[in-house]
């Protein structure tokens, strides 16, 4: 195991008493609990982490959190649990952690893909677009190469064994970020009694307070560590606060709906992970008020050779030093355009590192920092820039040149030797969530960054997120935001009292001067000044984009892929806008920003899906008889979420054979179908009849109590959308049935008309779909079975006529029986309260046994009705079919208006050549046409294409007629009865067939 030779001390961020061993690229290293992979590797002197996306250049650690663009690793080798593109700067180490570099082969050190780098000038901005737009062969040629060469980590390949969940939460104040501003905001809001959620992205509360010299400040006389401990304890005591660590707010949506993702187990050694806890949890928070205390993100500087491992953000260097006790290098140079970064040089110096120099692009850095540098004996170059860096896999030296008054290079280079270059181009308020919330930004010249200007939703930014950088002001800003948020949510707060914070004279000083694109000593063709370290976008690429006409920031982003990686340009976007502004000769404010979109950082798919996956993805509705069907080995189909038994194949019997057997039983003896899924609506009121008369195409004013009628419903466009039988129970009481899939839609549609168009009608409707279990018994012998079942109804068809209903009892259980038929056979539908459904079914099977009763499924039901030419809405109709198209003129009343009536006489719906519903019989009776097949008029292929004159909607092998039958929609089909048509085949000759009318019972002379 290599020694942690760069570890200086054990501050609060890591637990020195708790050593951890892990492996990186197969090699074992040591770290401590609390370390990230980045801090632990830095402690071991490892800087190079990965290869870049396009040029395969070595990539090191730039930042110290979710901002880092390129220190991406693959975690674990388990094909089910491996995580690609994990940020080494966020990944907490644990015993047994295995991480690997990405995008390199055969190894991180020797990578074949890095030849891309040598040919970099052949891979300019817009390379992919240009390749696509070139001669057609180009993409084919390049694709394989590009797919192998470019890319990030590898997705898991095995099913995810972990579980995830969503939690919905409502609160009064959501505070995002637990730095100095977020902590004070949460504390005062929680003290008001408001419901507060505090979400912190990292494992510790404190934010930037953890990244400064612990002894450099006191708050209310306490050390930083003591103050944080007290604050956390205080927060935990509040009954209405939820403090979420390792929780990132990744999406800010409408009406203050904010999505957070919490990582619960990824930091725990695998053997200690709990099966009862989700791996990640998404909190879906609806909140009255939001406080955005999301801090700020430091920007690097854009200069030739700025991407070498060992070049880090100045603030990150301080975080590694103070939070993790790790010196990121032995000899350091600090390169900046602002005062704040000079602190990094001072802190490194104090920690025992050698500071070779501070290089500042400005003429006159602030007096406080220059005086301190002088007192520490640190050499400072002003009006200077770094023009080149050297070192294989790790920085070793760099050259500095002076800048003249026009910020152009002057004089000769001077070489500086250092293994660490801490850079800072200034801090940008982290406005991603603010901008997602549709707040409007403003470019702040003092910060040289965008900051929140005008809120759109009920939120307020605080602390560094609002451009406030000195600690005392951050506390005050957080307190004010927290108090205002609580008050706006209706809670009274104490008078805000910010902690008395000791002052550091450098606090809040910046004096930043813009330095977006620093001059290079190399000719342009050989200059590599990176803006986006993940996607390998250089300042040259952005300038090329502008020259090629991509002058909108959104277009330039897509053309160059700036900020399009997994980091979404956290460190690169503003530098990119600065470079674009320079190329366009416009101020940055006029260039604008690209749209900030969710997610703020990558969210695992498992977390997005939550608990709604696999068996729990979608309800499967089952009938009261379901277990019986399953026990009988039924195969099922899904209809409107319902599972319906489709057929009951016996042992050794095929599905098709089972359907034939079931249909023969229905035609010759008796058979029973579970029809419980049909939609049922109880309709009550003195205007119920009038209402039915308006929603159905046929007449309902004279239907007598005890009678039933089939009805068709149209949409206002005249197209059939549902059908069913409705029974008149009494003059003001009806029982309406719908198709299985249409039940909810029909009720909602009828309520719509009732409530919005005809509120004067006295009608109430209530769904009773599942109140009743329904068994349909059909076949010539069915009346015998029904007679054996019923206590008090005479099933004799003469006494109980077709299209009527009765109430009665089976063994004392109240039932409703309907004499209706969908198969053309004698049929009875028995309705019982659903709790008796299974019992009823068993009774039917028992009492029906002497009569050869056979359970039949929906496939048999479909076949039987096709033999009689009955439609199935949704199978034979598709929203383009009128009752006339179906040949159902008889169901269209002329006496009164109904929904869709006027559309039936529109010029298009009254055309004679519309597609008609007809029967189709193949010449070869053994051929069963595939449903959905196209119907053509001639067998010869025509140029340019053979016209399609219709399609097959239903097709079966009919046991009754011992041949195939089909139904379909064919242009002017009724005029073609008897004519020849062909059924087009994907492979093979068209099938010859003839058009018939759709009722095969009549066609074959078996009229019912």
């Amino acid at each position: 195991m290599s020694m942690q030779t760069f570890r200086r001390k054990y501050p609060t961020g890591v637990n020195g008493a708790s050593p951890v061993t892990f492996r990186f690229n197969g090699r074992q290293y040591g770290g401590f609990a609390g370390d990230t992979l980045a801090s632990a590797l830095l402690a071991n002197g490892v800087h190079m982490i990965a290869r870049s996306f396009k040029y395969h250049r070595p990539r090191g650690i730039l930042g110290s959190g979710s901002d880092d663009p390129a220190a991406l690793v693959q975690v674990g080798a388990d094909p089910a649990r491996t995580v690609p593109n994990a940020r080494a700067t966020e990944l907490e180490i644990y015993d047994g952690l295995e991480a690997f570099s990405q995008n390199c082969w055969p190894s991180l050190a020797i990578d074949v893909g890095s030849v891309n780098d040598a040919f970099g000038r052949f891979l300019p901005a817009g390379f992919y677009y240009k390749t696509f737009m070139g001669p057609p062969g180009n993409w084919m040629m390049f694709e394989g190469l590009i797919r192998r060469a470019a890319g990030l980590g590898k997705s898991p390949t095995a099913p995810d064994p972990d579980h995830y969940e969503h939690v919905n939460r409502h609160c009064d104040v959501l505070v995002i970020g637990a730095g100095p501003a977020g902590l004070t905001a949460a504390r005062i809001a929680a003290a008001s009694g408001a419901r507060v959620i505090l979400a912190e992205e990292t494992p510790e509360l404190g934010g930037r307070l953890l990244s400064i010299e612990p002894s450099s400040r006191t708050m209310d006389g306490q050390s930083i560590a003591e103050w944080l401990q007290d604050t956390e304890a205080d927060l935990t005591r509040s009954p209405e606060i939820t403090v979420l660590k390792r929780t990132c707010a990744f999406g800010y949506y409408g009406e203050n709906w904010v999505a957070l993702v919490e990582s619960l187990q990824d930091h725990v050694p695998e053997h200690a992970r709990r099966a009862d806890l989700p791996r990640h949890r998404v909190w879906r928070v609806r909140t009255a008020q939001v406080v955005l205390a999301t801090g700020a993100i430091e920007r690097p500087l854009v200069f030739h050779g700025n991407d070498r491992p060992g070049i880090m953000l100045a603030g990150a260097v301080r975080t590694y030093l103070h939070r993790y006790g790790v010196l990121a290098g032995r000899t350091a140079v600090v390169f900046t355009n602002n005062d704040e970064a000079w602190t990094t040089a001072f802190d490194l110096h104090a920690a025992g590192a050698e500071v070779a120099a501070i290089v500042d692009t400005r003429d006159e850095p602030g007096p406080n920092v220059t005086a301190k540098a002088k007192s520490l004996g640190i050499e400072a170059f002003t009006s200077a820039t770094i023009v080149e860096t050297k070192g294989r896999r790790r920085l070793s030296h760099m050259s500095v040149m002076s800048l003249d008054e026009n910020k152009q290079l002057t004089g000769g280079p001077r070489w500086l030797y250092a293994d660490l270059l801490a850079v800072s181009g200034g801090w940008s308020p982290n406005v991603a969530l603010f901008s997602q919330s549709r707040g409007r930004l403003q470019f702040d010249d003092t910060l040289q960054a965008f900051r929140p200007e005008r809120s759109w939703q009920a939120e307020r930014s605080a602390g560094a997120a609002d451009g406030v950088f000195d600690f005392a002001a951050c506390f005050a800003s957080g307190l004010q935001a927290g108090a205002e948020a609580a008050q706006a949510a209706g809670f009274a707060t104490d008078t805000p009292q910010a902690p008395a914070c000791s002052v550091d004279p450098i606090d809040g000083e910046s004096g930043i001067e813009p330095a977006w694109d620093l001059p290079s000593a190399k000719p342009p063709a050989r200059t590599r000044a990176f803006v986006d370290l993940q996607n390998d976008v250089t300042s040259k690429d952005l300038q090329l984009a502008v020259r090629e006409g991509y002058v909108s920031v959104e277009h330039a982003k897509r053309y160059t892929t700036l900020g399009m990686g997994t980091d979404q340009g956290k460190t690169s976007s503003l530098n990119g806008f600065g470079v674009l502004a320079g190329a366009l000769g416009k101020p940055i404010a006029d260039v604008g920003v690209t749209t900030f979109r969710p997610p703020f950082k990558p969210v695992p798919f498992g977390a997005v899906a939550g608990q709604h996956v696999g068996d729990h993805f979608h309800p499967r509705r089952t009938t009261p008889m379901h277990t019986w069907h399953e026990d009988q080995g039924a195969t099922f189909e899904v209809v409107g979420d319902w599972l319906r038994a489709r057929a009951y194949p016996r042992a050794g019997e095929s599905f098709e054979d089972a359907v034939q057997r079931e249909c023969i039983a229905a035609r010759t003896q008796t058979a029973a179908l579970d029809a419980s899924t049909l939609g049922k609506i109880d309709i009550r009121g003195r205007d119920a009849r009038t209402f039915l008369n308006r929603v159905y195409t046929n007449a309902w004013m004279k239907l007598a109590p005890g009678r039933c009628r089939y009805g068709l419903m149209l949409n206002e466009d005249g197209m059939v959308f549902d059908d069913g039988v409705t029974a008149c129970i009494s003059d003001d009481h009806f029982h309406l049935t719908t198709t299985t899939g249409g039940a909810a839609g029909v009720l909602s549609w009828m309520e719509d008309y009732l409530q919005t168009e005809w509120p004067d009608l006295d009608v109430f409707m209530t769904s009773v779909t599942e109140q009743w279990a329904v068994a349909s018994i059909c076949g010539p012998e069915s009346w015998r079975v029904v007679g054996a079942l019923l206590d008090d109804i005479d099933p004799n068809p003469d006494a109980f006529p077709f299209m009527s209903h009765r109430t009665g009892h089976i063994a004392g259980v109240p039932v409703r029986v309907f004499r209706i038929s969908f198969t053309g056979e004698l049929s009875y539908e028995i309705n019982v309260p659903a709790r008796y459904g299974l019992w009823l079914w068993q009774q039917i099977m028992d009492k029906g046994e002497p009569h050869g009763i056979t359970p039949y499924g929906t496939e048999g039901m479909h076949l039987l009705r096709a033999e009689t030419g009955f439609i199935i809405v949704g199978q034979d109709t598709d929203g383009t079919v009128t009752p006339y198209d179906l040949g159902m003129d008889w169901i269209v009343k002329s006496s009164a208006d109904f929904i869709g009536r006027r559309s039936l006489t529109r010029s298009d719906t009254s055309r004679a050549d519309r597609r008609h519903f007809v029967g189709v019989l193949t010449d070869d009776p053994a051929i069963v046409i595939a449903e959905g097949s196209q119907v053509i008029a001639t067998a010869e292929e025509q140029d340019p294409r053979t016209p399609m004159i219709g399609h097959i909607t239903s097709s079966y092998f009919s046991p009754t007629f011992e041949r195939s039958i089909a139904l379909g929609l064919i242009d002017a089909g009724r005029n073609r009865v008897g004519e020849r048509v062909y059924i087009a085949q994907r492979d093979g000759e068209p099938i010859p067939a003839r058009v018939t009318q759709p009722n095969f019972m009549q066609h074959f002379g078996r009229a019912t």
Binding site: H163, E165, H166, V167, N168, R169, H170, R195, D276, L277, P278, R284, R286, Q611, H612, D615, H616, H618, P619, R620, R621, T622, T623, P624, H626, T627, E630, T635, F636, E637, V638, W642, L643, R646, A647, F655, D682, R684, G685, R686, D762, F764, M765, T766, S767, V768, T769, E770, Q771, W772, A773, V813, P833, A834, R835, Y836, G837, L838, W839, E859
Partner: protein
């Protein structure tokens, strides 16, 4: 009185419970009756027969020991009763409403009831429900029609106990009951509830597709 011929939608499930954290149990065969009409037309008859005032606003639920009437909409209520309650009002209400425009429909078989209780009952429900369950927003003695994952449900907050545990009841459509039950169990895993396999994960006949389940 339970008839052996009766079958409840969750008859195949055993109560799930773990200490005082959370418990889920089916209350089978409760009575549910939907009442539609104008409040002014109904209030007197309901008061006389059911013995409870008609609720007038959302989340209102008026309750006696065995019977409860809950506001579902401006012209819709559900009257519910415990499984073994005397249902005398059922036969009395329809005649009492004679002559008014109303609808009275028994839907006891369309629904079943799941009781969710325990110290984490609210946390568990929050994983599946979008309404605000906090006592400030949804206090004890209230009820509401809302969604639970993809199912429409009625939810009642029955009571809060001194020990911090809360009791809720969910009425779900019979055919959604198992889906709801299994999601509740899944969401209770962190408090030790065992994962449940939903019924209906059966063989489908899809001749044109390879099926995976």
């Amino acid at each position: 009185m339970i008839d052996v011929r009766w079958q409840s939608p969750l008859g195949h499930r055993e109560p799930l419970t773990r200490g005082t954290d959370v418990a889920i149990v089916e209350i089978a065969f409760m009575t549910y009756v939907i009442l539609r009409g104008q409040a002014a037309d109904l209030a007197l008859a309901v008061g006389d027969t059911v013995g409870l005032p008609l609720p007038t606003a959302v989340t209102e639920a008026n309750r006696s020991e065995t019977t409860q009437i809950t506001w579902l909409g401006p012209d819709e209520w559900v009257i519910s009763a415990e499984p073994d309650a005397d249902e005398g009002w059922m036969s009395a209400l329809e005649p009492a409403l004679d002559g008014t425009h109303h609808q009275l429909v028994t839907v006891s078989d369309q629904y079943t009831t799941i009781a969710v209780s325990g110290a984490h009952a609210r946390d568990l429900l929050a994983k599946l429900m979008v309404i605000d369950l906090h006592p400030r927003a949804f206090g004890a003695g209230t009820g509401v029609a809302t969604v639970l994952a993809k199912a429409h449900v009625w939810l009642w907050h029955m009571r809060d106990d001194a020990d911090g545990s809360a009791s809720f009841r969910i009425a779900t459509r019979r055919s959604h009951a198992d889906y709801v039950w299994c999601l509740l169990a899944e969401s209770g895993r962190e408090w030790g509830l065992p994962p449940q396999k939903p019924i209906g994960r059966v063989k489908l006949h899809l001749p044109h597709f390879e099926t995976s389940d």
